[in-house]
Symmetry: none
């Protein structure tokens, strides 16, 4: 996706600038709507959120929302993709997460991944409304599925390095479980009333993930595939 601007423009000759401006304005609108959606999803949950509420929060008319998004689920999908992109940016900024090997490294790895992830969740209250639900309505499931898959790919990569030699299926499963653990714990973190309880829950999250993965690593050692 780098800088390949290639042939994307269907703009007519001579008026590239207005088109771009219009596109830019459209992009701004989209941004505003998604921002509003994140807020309302975070406050009310996905099902209870109405498209009109999103539009109102964005200071935009309902019709405008439907100019950019075909329906409610597409708003969710776009927001999910937005989150995915930011997570990707996050990951990129972290640089190369160390080649995990022993327990010590595991702790660090977990800290490196979970820390920003928790921060991300706290910074983006709408995130968990889309991702942290364990049972999803059909529309939402379809909307976030691709993003889920991308996240799963990333995590599987890390887990694969942690458990070298394990069959892909098992790696995938461990990745799935790891994600689910985080997903399940996040509400306990974001829902904590005071900072002390929140810190404690964050520590529990680390404990859960680390002890699970360490056990997996140990098992890998025990039964040399």
């Amino acid at each position: 996706m780098g800088g390949t601007t290639g042939t994307t423009g269907t703009a007519e000759a001579g008026d590239g600038a207005p088109v771009r401006r219009r596109q830019a304005r459209g992009q701004k609108r989209i941004e505003e709507i998604l921002h509003a959606a994140a807020e309302v999803f975070g406050e009310q949950g996905y099902d209870a959120t109405t498209t009109n509420a999103i539009a109102a929060r964005a200071g935009v008319s309902p019709g405008s929302l439907y100019q950019f998004f075909g329906n409610k689920d597409e708003v969710a999908r776009a927001l999910a993709e937005r989150y995915a992109a930011r997570l990707e940016t996050l990951r990129a900024e972290l640089g190369t997460v160390g080649d995990p090997g022993d327990g010590q490294d595991l702790e660090e790895l977990a800290a490196d991944v979970l820390g920003p992830l928790v921060a991300f969740n706290l910074a983006h209250p709408g995130f968990k409304a889309l991702f942290a639900r364990t049972d999803m309505p059909a529309g939402l499931r379809d909307a976030v599925a691709p993003v889920q898959a991308a996240i799963h790919g990333r995590v599987a990569e890390l887990v694969g390095r942690l458990l070298p030699g394990r069959p892909d299926g098992e790696v995938a499963r461990v990745a799935t479980v790891s994600i689910q653990l985080v997903r399940g714990m996040i509400p306990l973190v974001t829902g904590a009333d005071d900072g002390r309880e929140r810190e404690a829950m964050i520590a529990e999250l680390h404990t859960v993930v680390v002890s699970y993965l360490r056990r997996q690593a140990d098992l890998a050692g025990e039964r040399p595939v």
Copy 2:
């Protein structure tokens, strides 16, 4: 009345039998409605489930449903209580779960508790629609809150025995986390496509819970409060 059993028992009044039969019918209806609700909740999720859908599935008119339940939330509440009662029965049938001490016992304890719990979830598809959601709409939250509290109490009891000497707050937290771990993992189990994957997920669930709790027990040993 008296001894007038002569005729077929179409007695007008004074006999408890018709009342009992009618109550029995009402109870049966309630059962049918809750059964249908469990199904539909399980299939569609709580929000997407309509009271008319529940009634239709139960082979009953909407008005009939409202004869027994004041509104949708009350159906959920009643179902939650039903589940709580069955869980309690389950627990009672298990007898006294052993006094946990070392790691070996912990494995057994986990197996004793998680095994039936998983079986219960598989047998009752509606259960997770009420309990496994991490973010709940207000109505549902209120409906299941008492039952959640009861479950938490049970688990805290077990955890307390596992981590003697720990302050109540920490025990409560470990219990909360443990429940949440199960809650988060259950969809992976029930959602598994084939039996092999399901078995694997059940194993992961055990691993997750045991490694977490063992780590907690070790910590308890390390830092003698």
Copy 3:
């Protein structure tokens, strides 16, 4: 209906007594239902009153209510007739209301009629729900129409004596107006918060009716038809 039991019974030979007892029981049920209906109509108004509420208040099942009354309107009709009968009894007990002639008599006549009428309304809170409404839903209108007609006949009789020589149409109109005046004023009487205000409103009612009828009598004198 004195003692004319003549040939009313379709009872089969030999079991007249049970039938009568059953009829008596039915009559008692009817009485209870109408009593309950009067109460609930008085408290909630006609439209807001549900047949189930009436049945419940009567300590009877909805089905039982429909055993005696084909629908809600018929309950109203029966109640209206009951009220009419009691009003008739009232009138009969009053004996012959004096031959009205001059103003003095008019005052007395009004007092004789209005006093018991007000008392009746205060004693029967359901009465005004059926009669004091100035605009009625179709069902209720049909239900009370015959009784209204009967009342109108009685009043027209009195007015006719008060305004001798007036054409029937005018007498009927004065009767209609008189009834409407009472009908309109009754809520002010029954709705009065304290006794003092109520007494004042009763006085106003007298003033209204008397001044209207006296004016009519005067007019009768002025323009000798």
Copy 4:
């Protein structure tokens, strides 16, 4: 709108015109809905009127109605306020109604007030459905209460001039009774089948009100407070 009448006014923003036009459309819709409501209220009565019926009569969807009115009661309230405003306009157009003193003036005063009032009722069939009911369901009562109070204030003002020196409480009562007399008589006027009967009823209404108020004025003279 400034002077920019050039193009057809499809300006994107900054111009008040589209907004105004849209508001005008909204106002028109409100008007249509209230007009329809008045009709249906007039035909069916308040309780029997459904919001869908109002919407249909207005040639509008149910959702549209709820865009302007939060619920059925608010429609009634808005209609009541509309009526109040028109009555006020009516009163203003009448100019200063003469300082009433003797009987002659009273006749004129009554004619000045009652004439337009009757005309208003005949022109607005929904009016009596909201105001002429003597017993109201809770929702309607709340909806029209403020308007009732305003009307009462106006009438009390007139009555106060008619009965100088009377305590406020008595003036208020006479006003209440006067209003109630009109309220009770209006259905006889609007419900009249033919014009002749209607005229006669209007005459009766005058007679009723005038004879009542004259009697009150006489009483005031008799017992000089």
